[in-house]
Structures are given as C-alpha cells and as structure tokens.
Symmetry: C2
Subunit: 224 residues, 2 copies
DNA sequence: CGAGAGACTATTGTATACAAATCGGGTTGG
DNA sequence: CCAACCCGATTTGTATACAATAGTCTCTCG
C-alpha cells in the first residue's frame, strides 16, 4: 500500500464507493492526480484496475467515467456471485482442513460479536463477513476463481446500503454461516454449494427490499 | 489496435501463446520494450492486462513471469467456463431475438464450411467458433458476465493443441452448436444451459485426451 | 566451509515533457 | 435553421530521466 499507484487506487475507489464521485462523473487523469497527490502515471494504473473492477467505464475514445449501476446490473452481479461463490463453497468443502475450518468458524464468531450489541457494529459485521468469505475462497484453492470473484465483491451500491439491513437480516447471515460451517465440517460439497447459493440470493433480496423501501431518498442522501 | 500499448499487448500475448516465451520465463520490462519496439510505458500497461488474464504472474516483489498452466489449472478454467457460459446460454435463450438467432446460425454455417473439406481449416474453425460464442454472449446482455468470460477464453494450451482435434470432434462441435440453436429458437433457457455445459465439458475432455496422447512431444514442437 | 554484510547491478516505480487525439464552440455555407 | 467544418482548449498516449527497491555477487569473519 505504500506505492503511489496503490494509494491512488484506494483513494479513487473510495471516492466512488462513498458517492463523492457520482455515477457518470468524468474522471480526468490530471484532476485525479492532483486530488491524490501523485502524478498521472500511477493514476493511469489505478484507472485501469478500476476499469477491470467495472467501477470505471471508458468510452471508445478512452475517456473514463464513474460507472452507474442500474438495478439490473446489481441483480446481474448477485446472480454471478451466487454461481461462483457456491462453486467456491463446494470446492472448499471438498478440500476442507481442520485449520481452514477453524479460520472460518473464528470469523463467524467475530461476526456474532459485532451484531450482538444494542447498536449493531456494521463495520465490524462487514469486516467479519469479508473474512468469512475470504477464508472459503482461499480454501477453494483456485486462483482463477479468486480472481473472478474479486471483481464481484464489495459492490458500491450494496456497500452503501448495508447500514439499512435489519437486525433480523444480520442474524440470518450469522446462522447461514453456521450452517455452512456444518456442511464444511462434513465435507459435503453439494450441501455447501446449496447453502451458499441461497445465502447470496437471500442477501440480494434483502438488499433489493431495503433499496426499494428507501428508494431514491437514499440515493439522494448518498450523493450529497 | 494502433496504440503502442495494444501492439505490445498483442505481441507479448502472442509470444506467450506460441511458446516463444516459455512458462516461468521472467518478463523484464526493458527487454520486452525493445522486442516490441516501444518504450516501457505501454509495456507496463500490457503486462497489467496480461496479469488480469492470468497469463502473467507477478511475485510479491513485482517481478513478472510467464504463468505456467498445470493440468489442474486447465481443468479449473474449463470448469469455470462451463458454469459461466452455460449461464450465458440460459440468459441468451431467454432474450433471444430473430436477428441474434440469425447471427448465431450464420456463424455455425461458417464453422461447417471450415470443417467440411479434405483438410479441415482449423483457423477458420476457431474463428467461427469464437464468433458463435461471442454472439451468444452478446445476446446474454450482461457486461459483467462478458468481462469475466473474457479472461477465460482462448487459453494458451488449448489454442496450441486445437490443431490436433480429430475430425470427429470438430463435427461434434458443429452438431452441438446446432442443438444450441434449436434451444435458442424455442427460447428454452434450461435446455440451452444444459447443452452448453456439456459442450464445454466435452471440449475439455477432447483437449485432455489430445494432450495426453501427444504429450511432451507436442510441447517440444510448440517451443521451437 | 558456511553465514552474513556490504556494495554493485538489475529491475521496477514515479514524475515530467512532449506528441497525438479528442472535444466543444463558433462560424460559415447551404 | 441545420449541418459541416475548422480551430483552440483539453485530455490522453508515449518516451525518457531519475529515484527507489530488489537481487546478486563477493568478501570477510566465525
């Protein structure tokens, strides 16, 4: 993270995820370089990475813009994620080791701690959730699968609305993770695959419900 | 393709696919720049792109090497491709239009022409095959899915051994494509998904058989 | 004889200058 | 009034110089 291009990547990415750079905004290399305090060279690298993440779109004439995520795009991303992560779960179950299982269970305990409080710690929840899924992906042992999933996790819109998840939804995540751990303990690939698929798709509908309920008001707040 | 970075990308990629740069070879930016007749700047961009294609691997200290593809890697890639392309086929079937169907059928006619000759035209087969799958992917209408599949098609080892496919295998590809077109004509997503999945997995085993049969001799020929 | 420190070399990272392409606006001719 | 065109302003692409970092070899000391 000490390299200028990494800092530029993190900075620009954060500006997009937070809505500071709204969807459709043009991303001039010079302007970004100034905002990030580096030269254009690392900014260009960062933009290319963000482009493969599909957070940035380029026109046919090489101008960069913040990608906008329609409802369909989000549904699409969840659909893909459900397929790929359930595949990862199956592979992980088949390759499960005691150490990997410990790591997976530990991250779910951390998740439980984050949500069992008067005011749920959403950041803590997100971090534990990330670690849980990362542990599974590592255990799946496919560089290629990891590379593909890398561009699907941490979607901007989802990230922005995670704070609106109900307490019930958070607890459901925890119990589904527990069930996954049970499937892993038994090395049952088909079971793990099925749970993961429904886990992701349920998360999608939780997101969709929250988004519908809040609607454009939320978008307006996020943009300010 | 007139940009120096595109030329560098194409040149380096081709050197890797042809085996001119063998697996494990270090990719120094300076050396590549000289071989491609451009400066390091576009070479760096090309290397980053090849890295996301997983054709190039970087160490923790930022040195680039030609990735080597073990049998497991290839199996992995086919497994992923089968999942994603069958998903594309389902979506394409659900969104099929007369125009898209025409395009798909036309590319399969081109494929038939290429293989119905005394000496099959493998380059023509590959091109028609590419167009056939591209037409389906376009019809599926998911930018994200297209982006993910982009890194999975045209795998180096597969490309190198396509010339060893039997005439029978080529004809089977053609008839499976015909069956896909039938599923598309009926807009039967489940059928299209199933055919595509078996189509890809059959292609994998055709590759695996050819590779096993030819073995190291083929690798040696490709390296010269 | 092996391990570690140091200097030297090779390689990558960043900044900057300049070249090439693109965009926007205003003008002109139909 | 609209379209096409041209030119200045802006933006991106490439080359190059220099800085920083990693790798390698040798020399010395235990």
């Amino acid at each position: 993270m000490s390299r200028a291009s990494d800092r530029a990547y993190a900075a620009i990415r954060s500006m997009i995820l937070s809505g500071e750079l709204p969807a459709g905004a043009q991303l001039g290399e010079e302007a970004l370089a100034e905002r990030c305090g580096v030269s254009r060279t690392p900014v260009r690298e960062a933009l290319r990475r963000l482009e493969t993440d599909l957070l940035v779109l380029r026109t046919d004439t090489q101008r960069s813009f913040v990608a906008d995520w329609s409802i369909d795009d989000v549904a699409d991303a969840f659909d893909l994620r459900a397929r790929l992560e359930s595949m990862a779960a199956r592979r992980a179950a088949e390759r499960m080791t005691p150490e990997a299982l410990d790591r997976i269970r530990a991250s779910n305990r951390a998740l439980e701690v984050a949500i069992r409080r008067p005011q749920p710690d959403i950041e803590g929840f997100l971090e534990a959730n990330r670690e849980f899924h990362a542990a599974i992906l590592d255990t799946a042992g496919s560089r290629r699968l990891a590379a593909l999933l890398g561009t699907l996790i941490e979607q901007p819109v989802v990230w922005r609305t995670a704070h609106h998840y109900s307490r019930e939804a958070l607890h459901r995540s925890h119990s589904e993770h527990e069930e996954l751990a049970a499937a892993f303990a038994r090395r049952d690939g088909a079971w793990a695959e099925a749970i993961m698929s429904s886990h992701i798709l349920r998360a999608y509908h939780a997101y969709a419900d929250a988004h519908r309920g809040i609607g454009l008001v939320d978008e307006a707040k996020a943009a300010e």
